[in-house]
Symmetry: C2
Amino acid sequence: MRAGEAEEAGEAERTGRVFLTRVLEPGDPVGGRWLRQFGVRETVRRLREGGEPPPGVSGTRWQGLLARAARADPGADLAAAREAGTRFVCPGDTEWPAQLDDLGDERPVGLWVRGHPGLRMWALRSVAVVGARACTEYGAHAAATLAAGLAERGWVVVSGGAYGVDGAAHRGALAADGATVAVLACGVDRPYPRGHTALIDRIAQQGLVIGELPPGDQPTPNRFVVRNRVIAALTRGTVVVEAACRSGSLVTARAAQRLGRFTMGVPGPVSSALSAGVHELLRGEAVLVTDAADVVELVGEIGELAPPRRGPVLPRDLLAPGTAAVLAALPAGRPAGPGEIAREARTSREDAVARLYELRALGYVERHDDGWKLTRQGVLPVLTGPHPP
Amino acid sequence: MRAGEAEEAGEAERTGRVFLTRVLEPGDPVGGRWLRQFGVRETVRRLREGGEPPPGVSGTRWQGLLARAARADPGADLAAAREAGTRFVCPGDTEWPAQLDDLGDERPVGLWVRGHPGLRMWALRSVAVVGARACTEYGAHAAATLAAGLAERGWVVVSGGAYGVDGAAHRGALAADGATVAVLACGVDRPYPRGHTALIDRIAQQGLVIGELPPGDQPTPNRFVVRNRVIAALTRGTVVVEAACRSGSLVTARAAQRLGRFTMGVPGPVSSALSAGVHELLRGEAVLVTDAADVVELVGEIGELAPPRRGPVLPRDLLAPGTAAVLAALPAGRPAGPGEIAREARTSREDAVARLYELRALGYVERHDDGWKLTRQGVLPVLTGPHPP
């Protein structure tokens, strides 16, 4: 195959995956099995051409899939997304977070991404903070404090963008000039819940808003549940802050457990029904955490010392030019705030923060409270780290 | 040795132990070693006769012990105690709780006991509930609710008689017509703290007040600390309800852990300094519990099904006459309250409750909320259980 053909094949596969986000429900293991067995292009061909339902798929379900396939227009979706500042990231892309591969046949077909930072780099050092929508003042306070503390330690806070604990966690990270990612159960152009439109827009500006569903798609109860596996798989660990028994956050926590991620819980009063689910979790495998230091002590165990499992190493001179400029803008021997670094690197504050978290994941810089400073590795002229987005 | 001689020897050993509670500090491992190596009577003889200090004991310390020995008058102590309704229980007595032997050289020389119930029987099915003196409303509420729940499930609540969590636990058990034991760090005739005089008197009436120190002795900071090992050893497990970091309750919990007892903690808000010690414990070996059902699920694991480790079995016709009368007073096929049972058995309500908890430990009766009823074993004419007091 000549280079042009390979590129064309790659483009076809990519358009095929965009098409599949319209046709398959997120996390559908049957679709995942087809992809594994037949590949993207053959799966797309079968859904486009119709014919008899494959073994194990009912006629009604197959007709539903074919009807969705008939309506799908991946070219238009990509164009509209580009217009709205949204990109499509899928397996094989350098920005694809390889830890999602742990989901096996339930791996997302691809992710729609709003925001500047590279998803792969950010996800390397991320923790999920999730919990009850109808949380108490205590839960909101605990989530915001925890998220701010994680941000101050250079960790990315991932949550679901919902009311209650999720929102408090995103806000806590943003307020600490930190990095946060909202994983939605609907199209990333269609913030849900409506009341969080401003918050989700702000996350897209300062962080990332991602989701499996194509532009315009609405959330459904099932989509919230399957979305949780993405939060669990993307992060090093999941912290549950307030959850009633049978809460959706417990689904995320159990998914994290199954995936070999750390599962943590913030305790609360035993008299509070909104802590009962967390306490149930803590009586099982989950670890009790009371603050960001506890979380980092646990999830940082491996990552603080060892390089991430996957991806080639990155010599410093292969950093993206904008990221190299931010690295060069850090003064030697003292910490600097993101404002100063942004001015020095001639970029926006948001862009500087996004790149600082990437450099953090690569081991070049560290965050201490409000300042960023070079690590020993960042001071040295040429060194190695994992692959960039 | 003739029977009369053996009895005389037993009496001498008993008087010797009374003497030793005056001379040795509770839990002194050096004294414990002497007792193990030389026996009670030889240890007493050496302390009475003076002479050179034994190896490893400084001259000053030895002089202090000899001065105490010169003042000790075990005969007078026993007479005064008898007068005050207090008895002396020591290793070898049928009322001695054998689980204290797990303390090795730190085993109490003996225990002074105020109250009617048999200590050994009660301790078989007991749980310690301990915590901060300066507890919050939340801690007091949690302790009282937990203790009441344990009492309702037929468990004996052991604590230290202090302000805060201890007092709330005792009160919770008493309020549920339950069984409770206060382990003091001073003479049992000298309730401490003073503000708990009425509470401790009530415990002595409805339950048991016990301690290692002879009549009239005062508590000291060290005596509080060493007292905690008795609480830990006596019970199946220790629950900590609110404790700041470095709290004395954590000493009890760690002693319980070392002794192979269950260690449990009631979580609280992460924003509360009075829950920080408990959370520290829960991040270690302790198990999170939210109510009495959680506790019983854990500590009852062995005991609910299997007989206790030690002691001969007890045919029903060897029950003490008063206890047999209470057992006979239980109606068949329905639960009855302690008032009704007491009337039927022609005894006081306190006496009936005390004997019901003994029968509970023997497996003859069960408590369900406010009523007591016969177990299958209690209905059958002759059956076996562990040794009575």
